[in-house]
């Protein structure tokens, strides 16, 4: 039984170990930059994955490229520039703010504002409507009369 469990675990682990190649770092800051970059760059072959998640050939090549550039002493921003010059803003999960990406960044905030304004306007409108429909003294007595009549019938 124990052997079987070990075998199953080994089989499960096999594809996992195949995903990530070994990129050794001596400088922890560079390693940190590497991890940040590969989890922010989009794999263009499998578009909803980062290059850290993806096992596509291109993702491997791009991870290698990031590693090489960092080892050469390039900064995080250098790597980002390198990638966007070749693949465009789309390669970044969080693209830099520009004319082209403005709608992307501001769109959700704009929709939220529209929503808040709508809610506020509706609430106010309802309040006004509520005050308008309040009965004056004469209407109240008339209402009571009608209700009493109804009860008597």
């Amino acid at each position: 039984m124990k052997r079987l469990i070990i075998l199953v675990l080994c089989l499960l682990a096999a594809p996992v170990s195949a995903v990530v190649e070994y990129h050794p770092f001596t400088d922890p800051a560079k390693e940190q930059a590497y991890q940040t970059l590969i989890s922010e760059l989009r794999c263009l072959v499998c578009q909803n994955q980062t290059i850290a998640d993806s096992n596509a050939d291109l993702a491997k090549d791009l991870r290698r490229q990031v590693y090489d550039m960092l080892q050469q002493g390039k900064s995080q921003q250098d790597v980002v520039n390198f990638m966007t010059q070749r693949y465009g803003d789309f390669v970044m999960y969080r693209p830099a703010f520009s004319m082209k990406t403005g709608l992307l960044w501001l769109g959700p905030i704009a929709f939220l504002l529209i929503g808040i304004i709508t809610v506020v306007l509706l609430a106010r409108h309802k309040k006004n409507a509520a005050t308008q429909t309040a009965l004056d003294g004469r209407q109240k007595t008339r209402l009571n009369e009608l209700l009493q009549q109804g009860e008597e019938d």
């Binding site: 263009l44 291109l58 090549d61 070749r86 465009g88």
Partner: protein, 179 residues
């Protein structure tokens, strides 16, 4: 005023519908290349037929040329191949094949079996030149003018009709430009 209030949701719906309709029609694989109207990235790679010699982008200066990214492992390249052969017959441009992450032997066999539309093929074995050209979906085709500027990029296989509709008109204009 009252009418506007009731029209507003309809207007919002129309705007949303237009955005979605356009969005659904876009090809998500077609990412606009930032390289358009930029100089073709430099390379110097061994030639597939004669690996001891290299070709660089400077050797093509003054010519209108196509850089077609292909590989023997690439399924859509097989689909595109007859169209490239047809384009080669028109002799409107020098066709350079970028043999991407492939093995020389397999690539040579492919050209022997299916015919060779390329004036020359170069080997990008580790895919680094591919990265410089922003390659992410083989096959891809770049059109480069006499000054060495990328003027058009086609991602994915060239489809029937693309040659007449896109490539030939573009190549004719580029051929008329002065170097």
């Amino acid at each position: 005023m009252l009418k506007l209030k009731y029209l507003l949701p309809l207007l919002l719906f129309v705007v949303l519908a237009v955005f979605l309709a356009v969005g659904l029609r876009l090809n998500p694989k077609d990412i606009p290349s930032p390289l358009i109207d930029k100089p073709a990235p430099a390379f110097s790679l061994p030639i597939l037929a004669t690996p001891e010699k290299t070709l660089s982008q400077q050797d093509l200066q003054g010519k209108v040329w196509l850089l077609n990214v292909w590989a023997s492992w690439c399924v859509s390249c097989r689909q595109e191949h007859p169209l490239l052969l047809e384009l080669a017959k028109r002799k409107q441009a020098t066709i350079v094949g970028l043999n991407y992450k492939d093995e020389a032997q397999a690539a040579g066999q492919w050209l022997q079996q299916l015919g060779n539309p390329y004036d020359v093929s170069i080997m990008d074995t580790d895919g680094r030149v591919g990265i410089d050209y922003g390659v992410y979906g083989v096959p891809e085709t770049f059109v480069i003018d006499k000054r060495g500027v990328i003027r058009y990029k086609h991602t994915g296989p060239v489809e029937p009709g693309d040659i007449e509709r896109i490539f030939l008109p573009l190549l004719q204009t580029l051929n008329q430009e002065s170097a």
